[in-house]
């Protein structure tokens, strides 16, 4: 007979094992979906998860997609660890890209080593400004940050749309909804000849290192952890709750803004309507899959980045609709949350008593 018992303490080994289990279960379920859709499951999975990263170019594309995911997820982990539900990273990314794009356009056809740092800084500030809206409304007006940050995503995309169609559109661009190309000094340098991977990856790695340090070596990290466990305890300990809320939002806004900069000054090189394939939303999954741990987030961003590439490859080679990527992302999160059950409960085998 099997009985389900609550664990006295969440199991630490299982804490790091369940993400792997979740990925495995997603593959099984994904294979099943492919089968139902009339594809050969193993072949489809191969096109989805192996073919895209089988060569040098594919691997560079993987890093290219993983960079913004990792960067945003690191920022989000500050919020999620301290019980702040910022789900509008997509908006903060977009607004960061708008501000840095605007600055880059000011330097149109100018060259100079100082341009790129200014453009990058502008993006971080843009993201922070945009993230400060839900933060301030939450702390001073008691407003639900989930809904505010999400509504702002729609607003940011409309602002971008207005700018690239209207005042910022390329005067020689035949009315295409896009700005001029940025000058070379406003673009992130490429790392290898012929590959699209760019220096933005160092921003992500820096974020990983800094966040690890903050989480595990500073008083702020400790405060965040306590607030995440119990807001009452944090209050009792006398932590300045409002300050912390605003701080974590600013950090995650800056990270999302930097991800936006990386996209427009890296592979895109200008502003147009679609600068992000929902990286800001997908990064929420990355943050959870990585267990809000900087190193975990690196692995998680690579795994989830494959779903983007796989969706494209599978569409080209097998005519599998590209939205399968999103389906996979949703499933990963479902299975991860579900397998967390094992964290708190265990199955006990009991021999029949006589």
């Amino acid at each position: 007979m099997i009985k389900i018992v609550k664990r006295d303490q969440p199991s630490r080994a299982i804490f790091f094992f369940t993400p792997v289990l979740a990925i495995f279960l997603t593959l099984v379920a994904g294979g099943l979906i492919f089968f139902i859709l009339g594809f050969k499951p193993f072949e489809a999975l191969k096109f989805f998860f192996i073919v895209p990263i089988a060569d040098k170019y594919g691997f560079s594309e993987l890093l290219l997609k993983a960079t913004p995911l990792c960067l945003i997820a690191i920022g989000l982990s500050f919020c999620f660890k301290s019980n702040n539900w910022n789900i509008g990273a997509e908006g903060q990314l977009t607004f960061g890209a708008i501000v840095s794009g605007g600055v880059a356009l000011l330097f149109y056809e100018q060259e100079g080593f100082y341009i790129l740092p200014i453009v990058i800084l502008a993006g971080a500030i843009g993201g922070m400004l945009y993230a400060s809206i839900p933060a301030i409304l939450k702390t001073y007006f008691n407003t639900n940050e989930i809904l505010v940050s999400l509504m702002l995503v729609y607003v940011s995309k409309l602002i971008l749309d207005y700018l690239v169609v209207g005042p910022w559109s390329n005067p020689e661009g035949f009315n295409f909804p896009e700005t001029r190309q940025f000058s070379d000094s406003a673009k992130l340098p490429l790392l290898f000849e012929g590959l699209r991977i760019h220096a933005g990856i160092f921003l992500a790695l820096a974020a990983v290192v800094i966040s690890w340090f903050v989480f595990y070596k500073t008083y702020l990290g400790f405060q965040m952890k306590v607030s995440g466990f119990s807001l009452k305890t944090a209050k009792y300990a006398g932590y300045k709750g409002k300050k912390m809320i605003i701080l974590v939002f600013l950090i995650s806004g800056a990270c999302a803004g930097l991800a936006g900069v990386g996209e427009i000054t890296g592979p895109i090189g200008q502003l147009h309507r679609e600068i992000s394939p929902d990286y800001g939303f997908t990064a929420i999954i990355v943050a959870f899959l990585g267990r809000l741990h900087p190193v975990g987030i690196i692995f998680a961003s690579l795994v989830v980045a494959i779903t983007y590439l796989g969706a494209e490859t599978a569409q080209i080679f097998m005519q599998i609709p590209k939205y399968t990527g999103q389906v996979f992302q949703g499933m990963i999160l479902f299975f991860l949350l579900a397998s967390d059950y094992l964290l708190f409960f265990k199955f006990k085998f009991i021999g029949s008593k006589k």
Binding site: K6, W85, I87, L137, F141, N142, T143, N144, I146, L147, V148, L150, M151, L152, Y154, V155, L158, I159, D161, Y162, V165, G166, F281, T282, I284, I285, F288, P321, Y323, T324, G325, Q326, V327, F328, Q329, G330, M331, L333, F334, L337, A338, D340, Y341, F344
Partner: protein, 310 residues
């Protein structure tokens, strides 16, 4: 300038029509939240309802099958949420987000074959009475069954919560699951039922969009309405009648933007489109500022998992 009074009636009727999906989804979510469960997957359940309704209508040709099929699809997808949050005790916020991401993906996958197919005409009632009463004629007559149902729903919901025994049980479970459980109420069962009901209403809201309001399948056609529906529940301070008011305001914003474009107001179209989202934020701020009122009206256990050792 003389404005035809029936024209005003038509504008009000169109505002009401755009309020319908919001009312349906909000009233469903309100019941879910009253039982203590925060389901952020409304947008995902709505879009699943939209594609299911449209696909079933195209394939079977039956509007009845399509409408009920969309509701069933909403129920099925919300079952995932219910199983995760109630049986496996997962976090409500994260699970709801997963539901939305998953729903948008699945709907686009199914919907690929239905893009560009024209919709069917949906039967309306009392078409002939439209011209009999000035102003009120277009408001009262010539609408679909879903339209009339939506405007009755807040009153039904209010009656259900205040006057029926099951309504009382739902409120008890949301306000104090421990004491409800001690009274012998199966908290988990009640919450399951409320989640599935919310799924059905979101599914219906989606079907209304793709079968009656638009009527065709467009990818991502819910366009944030599910999130606005969630905001409306907060706006209403969990009172179904106030959902009606909120939904009319947002319906009005959507419709006015069309008319302002039509008469050539020189405001960028993007600003008008952003208006409902911006107003949602402003309204949330105004409502939430009064933290005492929010605290008193929010179901006490909202978003908190309930686990009973047995």
């Amino acid at each position: 300038m003389i404005i035809d009074i029936n024209f005003i009636g038509l504008i009000i009727a169109s505002i009401m029509a755009s309020a319908v999906p919001l009312i349906l989804a909000s009233c469903g979510e309100l019941i879910t939240e009253r039982s203590g469960v925060l389901n952020l997957g409304v947008e995902g359940m709505m879009i699943i309802g939209a594609i299911s309704g449209f696909a079933l209508m195209t394939v079977t040709g039956s509007l009845i099958i399509a409408i009920f099929g969309a509701m069933l699809a909403g129920v099925l997808i919300s079952t995932i949420f219910a199983f995760l949050t109630q049986t496996l005790i997962t976090n409500h916020v994260a699970t709801g987000l997963a539901l939305t991401i998953f729903g948008i993906g699945i709907s686009a996958m199914i919907g690929k074959n239905f893009v560009g197919i024209p919709g069917k005409e949906f039967p309306v009632f009392f078409e002939g009475f439209k011209d009999t009463i000035p102003l009120l004629g277009p408001i009262l007559f010539g609408h679909s069954i879903v339209f009339y149902f939506a405007f009755a729903l807040p009153f039904i919901t209010s009656y259900f919560l205040k006057k029926t025994k099951i309504g009382l049980i739902v409120r008890a479970v949301g306000d104090s699951p421990e004491s409800a459980s001690n009274q012998g109420i199966n908290v988990r069962l009640v919450r399951y039922a409320c989640i599935l009901y919310g799924g059905a209403m979101s599914g219906l809201a989606g079907a209304y969009l793709s079968m009656i309001y638009t009527p065709q399948w467009i990818e991502n056609m819910t366009g944030g309405r599910g999130w606005i529906a969630l905001a409306l529940v907060v706006f209403s301070t969990w009172n179904p009648i106030k959902i009606l008011i909120g939904a009319m305001i947002f319906g009005g914003l959507t419709i006015i933007q069309f008319h302002m474009q039509a008469i050539g107001v020189r405001i960028p179209v993007q600003f008008l489109t952003a208006l409902p989202y911006i107003v949602t934020i402003i309204v949330l701020v105004v409502i939430s500022r009064n933290s005492r009122k929010i605290r008193l009206s929010t179901p006490s256990s909202l978003g908190k998992s309930f686990y009973k050792d047995n």
